[in-house]
Every structure is written in structure tokens, then in C-alpha cells.
């Protein structure tokens, strides 16, 4: 039987989540000093964001998305020293990713003799805004007990079934739904505790 309020008791390690172990500025400073662990943390922290901009924002296929992903982090690595405000690393990476995605689309259009002034599938601003909100939500998740982080991430971001989650975390599958509900309550408190109380607008549409 599920014990109430025990979402954070079991030490469930698993998939890496967006965990803001150090501030962005501190992380950038460590990367700039040649700290390989910091670089690994930076990649881990922003990997989902870069991936989502490429795949969901610009609707790139897997091959193009992989090229964009690697190009973005290569450029981040090379140009980190030129970043003026270390706290602004996230918008900088977002901007870099958008630019690399557009370059990729232009390159694809050129190869197919399409009119490169008419880029296909440019994302609507609200998709990119929603991805920023999603990043903030994942940041807020880092404040939750480990089990809550795992359950929310596995169910909503990784599409794992109750059974898989239960088996992995050692929880009865029948308790997952109620835990999800409680964890979402905690997440809402954490998220809105950061001053966020305006939901994003639904995504859709395209810009040219």
C-alpha cells in the first residue's frame, strides 16, 4: 500500500533530468576554465532544449536535428569565451540553435533548388515561447523530491507506462496515477513559487 507523502523517500536514480545544480553563470565560468565536468553538466542541462527547438520548433528530421545538435554544442564550446553575460547563456544557446536550424533549412532548400527566401516550416513564436516555458517547468521540477522528478519525467516526457515506471522505481503500478497527481501539485507550487502564474498560450501556426 502506498504511504502518503512518501514521494521523496525512495532514492530513485535514473534518467538525467534538467537539474540546475549550479547557476548558469557559475557553470559557464567553470566551462571557460576548462572544467570537463562542467561542460558535461552544461550539455546535459541544455540538451533537451536544443533538441526540442530543432525537432519541435523547426520540425527537422532526425539526421538534420543531429547535425544541428552537434553543431550547436560545437559552437557553444568554441564561443563560450565571447559570451558577454554568463547568466544569459540560455537565450544565447536558443538564439544559436535557431540560427543553425535556419542555416540548415536554407541549405536544404538550396540543395532542392527551392526558393531560399521562402523557408519551409519556420516555427511560430509561440512554439518557441512554449519551449522556454517548458524549460522553466523542468527547472522547477529540479526542486521536487527525486521520486517526483522521476515519475513526472518518465510518464510525461518519456512516455513510459505505469508498469514500466513502477517496475523501475519499485512502486506498485496502481499508485502511479495518484503519485502523478500529487507531484503535479508540488510542481505547480514550485513553479508558481518562482513567480510564474501565467500559462503560455497554446502553440500553433507558422510565421514566414
Amino acid at each position: 500500500m502506498e504511504a502518503p507523502g512518501d514521494d521523496g523517500e525512495a532514492p530513485a536514480r535514473g534518467p538525467e533530468l534538467i537539474a540546475q545544480a549550479s547557476s548558469d553563470a557559475a557553470l559557464v565560468a567553470r566551462c571557460r576554465a576548462g572544467d570537463d565536468d562542467a561542460w558535461r553538466e552544461l550539455v546535459e542541462r541544455f540538451s533537451r532544449y536544443v533538441y526540442a527547438i530543432a525537432v519541435q520548433g523547426f520540425r527537422l528530421g532526425q539526421q538534420d536535428a543531429e547535425d544541428v545538435f552537434q553543431d550547436v554544442f560545437a559552437r557553444v564550446y568554441e564561443r563560450l569565451g565571447s559570451l558577454r553575460d554568463d547568466e544569459a547563456v540560455r537565450p544565447w544557446i536558443a538564439q544559436l540553435t535557431r540560427r543553425v536550424c535556419i542555416d540548415r533549412l536554407r541549405s536544404g532548400a538550396r540543395e532542392s533548388d527551392a526558393d531560399i527566401d521562402e523557408l519551409p516550416e519556420l516555427p511560430a513564436e509561440d512554439v518557441l515561447t512554449a519551449l522556454e516555458d517548458a524549460f522553466d517547468v523542468h527547472d522547477a521540477m529540479a526542486e521536487l523530491p527525486e521520486n517526483c522528478q522521476q515519475i513526472l519525467d518518465r510518464f510525461f516526457a518519456r512516455d513510459e507506462s505505469y508498469r514500466t515506471i513502477g517496475d523501475t522505481l519499485g512502486l506498485p503500478a496502481g499508485t502511479i496515477a495518484s503519485r502523478l497527481s500529487r507531484c503535479l501539485d508540488k510542481l505547480r507550487d514550485a513553479f508558481e513559487g518562482e513567480g510564474r502564474n501565467t500559462p503560455p498560450t497554446p502553440s500553433g501556426g507558422q510565421v514566414t
Binding site: 543531429e66 545538435f69 516555458d133 512516455d159
Partner: protein
């Protein structure tokens, strides 16, 4: 009063699925790969025989340097050596 409901939060969580692990790992290994490349290129610049050996088998040269010979890294090494 709360403005975020469960549906909105769950949708936002779902918008950021993990990137493929191999992609993440390759990006995380970038500093080590760059160091390995730099060392190889420096030695190749100083030693023509070594340079020829590297060019003959780029993958093996990278592995000997402890660098995973991913296609992107191999291509970068080829580019660097051709710029010499």
C-alpha cells in the same frame, strides 16, 4: 489562485523529451575530442611520416589518441590536416 492546471504542466513537461543519449554523449566528449585532435595535428605538423600515417588511417589514429572516431570527428581531423 493557481493558473496552471495539471494538463498545462504535463504538456510542458512533455515538450522536452530527452535528446538521444548518443548525441548527448558525443557533445559531452567534445573537449576531450578537441584535445586529441589538437595533439594529433601538432604531431602531424612536426613529423611528415606521422602525418602520412594518420592520413592513411584516420580512425585508427584517433583511437590511438583515445578519441572515439565518430564520423564528425574523423571529418574534422581530415579538414584540419588538409589545412596544414
Amino acid at each position: 489562485m493557481s493558473n496552471y492546471d495539471h494538463e498545462q504542466l504535463s504538456r510542458l513537461i512533455g515538450m522536452l523529451p530527452p535528446a538521444p543519449q548518443a548525441w548527448v554523449q558525443a557533445a559531452q566528449e567534445l573537449p576531450a575530442a578537441r584535445r586529441g585532435l589538437d595533439q594529433l595535428v601538432a604531431r602531424a605538423e612536426a613529423d611528415a611520416a606521422f602525418r602520412a600515417e594518420v592520413l592513411a588511417d584516420l580512425e585508427r589514429a584517433l583511437q590511438a589518441e583515445g578519441v572515439e572516431p565518430q564520423p564528425r570527428v574523423v571529418e574534422e581531423l581530415r579538414r584540419l590536416l588538409s589545412n596544414d
